[in-house]
Symmetry: C2
């Protein structure tokens, strides 16, 4: 009970926030230490691989969250309109209405993409594949479903870029609304 921090999982959320705010290269161990309240000794106790292992752990947690809260529900959906709605809700919450950046997208644009190649590509291809499956279940043909899924996932990432550039979260929400309207079956 007296334990403050005793598992890697306890520091991951704060770790993730630091990487999201400063990027991989911009995140120093000093910043991490400050954000987590742990000295470097403790950090290397939990993450012997150093900064790279910390970022990998964050990516793994993000992946797990999306698998559970986004990808899996899409795959098992019987009512696709409802599943798609749920996806948009989850995304809106996760990205805090456009106030929070997608770490995977950020890494994808930089050369962190190469260092975390597998995690980055898996995140997006899983997202597109599960969304396409829900759309196909809803009655669309395979090619149209895949196209629309790709378009939607790309549109979400673009919405985050745009909202952050303009410092206007409303832009993110407007983009979300348009994507939702297009993907919903009549």
């Amino acid at each position: 009970m007296a334990r403050i921090i005793n598992e890697r999982a306890d520091v991951l959320p704060r770790l993730a926030e630091v990487f999201r705010s400063h990027g991989y290269e911009g995140t120093s161990l000093a910043l991490i230490s400050e954000a987590t309240g742990l000295g470097k000794g403790s950090l290397y106790h939990f993450f012997p691989g150093g900064k790279e292992e910390m970022a990998a752990a964050v990516l793994a947690e993000i992946d797990a969250w999306f698998r559970e809260n986004v990808f899996a529900p899409l795959r098992v959906a019987s009512e696709p309109n409802q599943a798609v709605d749920a996806m948009f809700d989850a995304v809106e919450r996760y990205f805090e209405k456009g106030g929070r950046v997608c770490l995977v997208g950020l890494f994808a644009l930089g050369d962190e993409r190469d260092r975390f190649s597998q995690a980055v590509s898996a995140y997006f291809s899983e997202w597109i594949a599960s969304l396409a499956q829900a759309l196909e279940t809803g009655g669309r043909d395979r090619i149209a479903a895949r196209d629309l899924a790709e378009e939607t996932v790309a549109g979400l990432q673009g919405a985050l870029v745009l909202a952050r550039s303009l410092r206007e979260q409303a832009a993110f929400l407007r983009c979300l609304q348009r994507l939702k309207a297009r993907i919903t079956m009549p």
Copy 2:
């Protein structure tokens, strides 16, 4: 004639490529020196403000290029379908069919956004405004034009993120085609 490098403008393209590849934090003066063939002394001669001034100069050059090759043609367009086509062509060339990242988008996602706040937001708002104007000239009402322009610019940025994540330039081109099809007047 014996001059190798004698103006800031001569080093800007290489400078831009370094920032695009490694991000702001990941770009060191050693990398810049290697990419430009200039020693640190020379670099500080051209850019007394150091790395920050170098990045600002790159952003200014990007802004100038888009103003001339993208924004201005959209604004003076009399035939909007044609102007939009020209925009997509320019974008496809500029981003090398998805193989090249948008530096402004990359900066927007990181905390470079705050350092280069004006340049980042101006780039996107100008793009949206000029595209919306072309669409309005084409006969759409103001609100629909603005919506479609915002959606298209966001979609382009998302397409870049997606193509880079998946290491699949074809994904960028597919997204471009869909955006183009949607924006073209019947």
